[in-house]
């Protein structure tokens, strides 16, 4: 990634997030595809690149991206299957930018769609049938319970900081018509603190609710932007990704994540410091993950996350607007399309189209992704993207 504005994100779209909506990932995708064509005035034949995130609802199909191209009437010269979990959207954008620069295509749709709460075909296998499932660990929730306890042992974890994250994001969801209706009810810090403990010390309101939904962004070359007279664009000026941090170390500290590498790298690429980041749209599968990213990307020192959160106005009118659409925790997690939720919100904000929750002067945004939660170590993939005007 470099600071040239030679490739930009020129459009975004998302569906409403629904719980057990019953529509397929294909059907949800059609909504966002039609919306993007509508907002850009482009034709189907103008889109020659397609990246599709993996799903939970269609994952039994090894040819899923090609099926999607067929469903949408596309003949891409670049077709990408993004199996990076919650990194698939920003990872898809980064790969689209590289593909466009390499001349593989000119205009790429980066699509994420999943009907996980209606249909889940995933069988994650690997070592799990032998070394995980028999213990009864409750998947990512259990892993993050272990992570939270470890963090709380090493540093000061103030539940009021997590409560503030929960309430801030919930307040943002109340202003977001696309958020899942079931989650669009006001939340107080007391209600967060009283919520059911699912995998101690992790509470139900620390984590996402799995839903259905689709989102997409359109990535285009400068040439296409000029030729088609596309009015709006924001530019990815940095991207850094790392999978399986400290792969070689069986004793690696589980609270130390790939963000300690990719955060600083991305900031360096964009020649920005955390002070200059206008909005933060972190992957929020769990509230503790937001706190850990703030620390390891460098907004505050490791161990000081609770203080930082308690002393920073994270609302959309504040110093560091956080997931202004509610994040996945308060808008709902549309399965493996979840990584695109916060990306789309960042683009929407930077296009000045966020209405009642518009951030003033949205000069840039940092969007992150987390992909796959293994056992015995920190999460698999960490990624950071910076968007600028």
């Amino acid at each position: 990634m470099n600071a040239n504005r030679d490739v930009g994100i020129v459009a975004y779209a998302e569906t409403k997030i629904t719980l057990r909506g019953g529509r397929s990932a294909y059907d949800l995708a059609a909504d966002v595809f039609a919306s993007i064509l509508d907002s850009t005035g482009l034709e189907v034949s103008d889109i020659d690149g397609l990246a599709v995130a993996e799903t939970m609802s269609e994952t039994a199909n090894p040819f899923w991206p090609a099926y999607m191209a067929d469903m949408l009437g596309l003949s891409p010269t670049w077709l990408e299957s993004s199996g990076l979990g919650g990194v698939s959207a920003i990872g898809g954008v980064a790969r689209a930018v590289a593909a466009i620069r390499a001349g593989l295509c000119k205009t790429a749709l980066v699509l994420s769609t999943d009907a996980q709460s209606s249909k889940n075909q995933s069988e994650q296998g690997g070592q799990r049938h032998e070394f995980q499932y028999p213990t009864g660990l409750r998947g990512p929730t259990g892993v993050f319970g272990l992570l939270m306890r470890r963090y709380a042992h090493l540093y000061d974890l103030d539940p009021r900081a997590l409560a503030k994250l929960a309430v801030t994001q919930r307040n943002h969801a109340l202003l977001n018509e696309n958020a899942c209706e079931k989650l669009r009810i006001p939340l107080t810090e007391e209600a967060y603190l009283d919520s059911k403990v699912v995998s101690d010390p992790l509470r139900m309101l620390d984590s996402v609710m799995v839903c259905d939904g689709a989102n997409a962004v359109l990535v285009a070359s400068e040439e296409v932007i000029k030729e088609k007279g596309l009015a709006k664009a924001v530019y990815p000026t940095a991207y850094s990704e790392l999978t399986n941090y400290k792969a070689f170390d069986s004793s690696a500290e589980i609270t130390e994540t790939g963000f300690s590498v990719v955060g600083p790298k991305a900031l360096e690429q964009a020649n920005l410091s955390t002070d200059q980041i206008r909005m933060f749209h972190p992957y929020d599968d769990f509230l503790i993950a937001i706190l850990m990213q703030l620390e390891q990307i460098g907004f505050c020192n490791v161990g000081r996350g609770s203080d930082f959160i308690l002393n920073t106005d994270l609302s959309f009118t504040g110093d560091l607007p956080l997931n202004t659409g509610g994040g996945q925790i308060s808008a709902g997690q549309p399965g493996l399309a979840g990584g695109g939720l916060n990306l789309v919100e960042a683009v929407r904000q930077m296009f000045g189209e966020a209405g009642d929750r518009q951030v003033e002067n949205p000069a840039n945004a940092m969007v992150t992704g987390i992909g796959v939660i293994p056992i015995g170590r920190n999460w698999s993939t960490s990624a950071v993207m910076i968007l600028e005007q």
Binding site: H129, E130, Q132, P134, G136, R150, K196
Partner: protein, 134 residues
């Protein structure tokens, strides 16, 4: 009597040495022959060298408590056991194992507590390593 969820041996590689030893109440770990370092869960290759030079070595079955979580919302098949404790134990050999904790109360647990393996019989001929305070 409700059945425990059983491991499926050899589901991704030949793990028979682990499961055969488990039934004799021995905890096996893979050791990289070139570096002498241990790894768990088992993998087809050494994490450290990428080679196939790995051997199965009997672990002392001792370690320290690295983290734990009390599960109130069960993983499917475990509803009848709630609440139960899942934990990471850092084994003396340097590898880390996900396990249940038995013979202890969650309130009495402390980070770094010495732990030792305690074999659970999930079914006739199926033993599984849990850990308990040493």
């Amino acid at each position: 009597m409700t059945h425990r969820v059983l491991p499926i041996p050899n589901s991704y590689m030949d793990t028979r040495p682990f499961w055969d030893a488990a039934n004799n109440h021995v905890l096996m770990l893979q050791r990289c022959d070139d570096t002498g370092r241990y790894q768990h869960p088992p993998r087809p290759a050494s994490l450290y060298t990428g080679s196939r030079n790995v051997s199965w070595i009997a672990s002392a079955g001792k370690g320290t408590l690295y983290s734990w979580t009390v599960t109130y919302s069960a993983w499917p098949g475990h509803e009848h056991r709630v609440p139960y404790i899942c934990a990471y134990v850092q084994l003396e050999e340097g590898a880390r194992i996900l396990c249940n904790l038995v013979n202890c109360e969650a309130e009495a647990l402390t980070m770094g507590m010495p732990m030792k393996v305690s074999w659970e019989t999930l079914a006739p001929d199926v033993c599984y390593p849990a850990f308990e305070p040493a």
